[in-house]
Symmetry: C2
Subunit: 210 residues, 2 copies
Amino acid sequence: MSSETRERILNEATELYLRDGFDGFSMRALARSVGVTAPALYRHYASKENVLHEIMGEAFRRLSNKLYEALAEPTPHDRFRRAVSGYVDFALENPRLYEVLFVPPTMMGEGELPESVQAQGCAVGQFFDDRVRECVAAGVLRDDQVAPTLWAHTHGMVSLYLRGRMAQRGIDSPERFREVFEASTTRVLEGLGGPAHGVEGDGGDSDAAA
Amino acid sequence: MSSETRERILNEATELYLRDGFDGFSMRALARSVGVTAPALYRHYASKENVLHEIMGEAFRRLSNKLYEALAEPTPHDRFRRAVSGYVDFALENPRLYEVLFVPPTMMGEGELPESVQAQGCAVGQFFDDRVRECVAAGVLRDDQVAPTLWAHTHGMVSLYLRGRMAQRGIDSPERFREVFEASTTRVLEGLGGPAHGVEGDGGDSDAAA
DNA sequence: GTCTATAATCCGATAGAC
DNA sequence: GTCTATCGGATTATAGAC
């Protein structure tokens, strides 16, 4: 069946990318891994760029699965915090998959992203928007404009750490990074809302403190 | 002279990268631009990877020059805000130079960065640390732990915008982005310190509000 | 010492036979 | 769907001319 082969190719492609990185990834090596010759791949994927886009889609899918675990938590605040920590977990445990999510268009070819992949990217953004909206409704966050702020802070911290740009400050291990990240997030959250400042959690909706 | 040729090669390499991006960059095209044959380049640079590292160094140098303009401002707070806005200006006006600063190691080859380039990266971080420390001394910011927080927020916002990850929220023009970024930064700063919350600016040290 | 010329090796992608 | 054969182009090393 066609989609079966496609799937096997994508699995091998993902593993190959995870093992050898971006510049070790070639259609010929992929063909060797799959056990066919290179031209056969073009029956399933239009181009190398196309395969890379699908790897990106796969990465989004895995990230989404990780994020959805947060929905098991009981309160909006817990769901939000677990979504953020799940996001960081994913990035630290799968740095290459995380990197491919934000690769500059310059490096993946000039072509547009397939709609399906773009939709998966939007879904991740939407997930955070929903978590934030929940928190706003519960009085934990001040307003729903903070979603980009919080996402940017999280992505920025992870991104700078993964590129070793924090080693100069002694932040050179995952453990140390988590400490710094938690502290930074708490700092940002305290300012961004919660009963401490703007919103009175008079209803006493349980999960107030960071 | 040797270093003269090296410099000319680097200039051409930077222009070529700016024009054609990462995957349009090749040693052959570079040689054509310079006016020599490809193998001649290897007398001056050990590899393509080496040239890319030097482009990264050049990008850091230009960013530093932009940042240093902030030192012309009179107060710590003004210097800090202008450093941040200069940082954003640089990123929006030179998106490809900004991208090369944070390119994943996976995509530039496995080799380590030259020490000189790494030092230039540290210098940028140090510059922000200094601006923050100044602000702490002036009572504008609460403590100097916020430097990574602010840098991460700034880099995260810029990075997500440049990758089109904010278009889904209608943030698809530089003007709109600047609005959102300013609002987000102000939000973060209000929480992170200043007379409004933690620190009383009783001395009334002039530059208090964002 | 600096550059050129040649060549080995790999890559992406296509055409056409089975 | 897969193969063989092949094209055009890229990186990189080596050998030799100025």
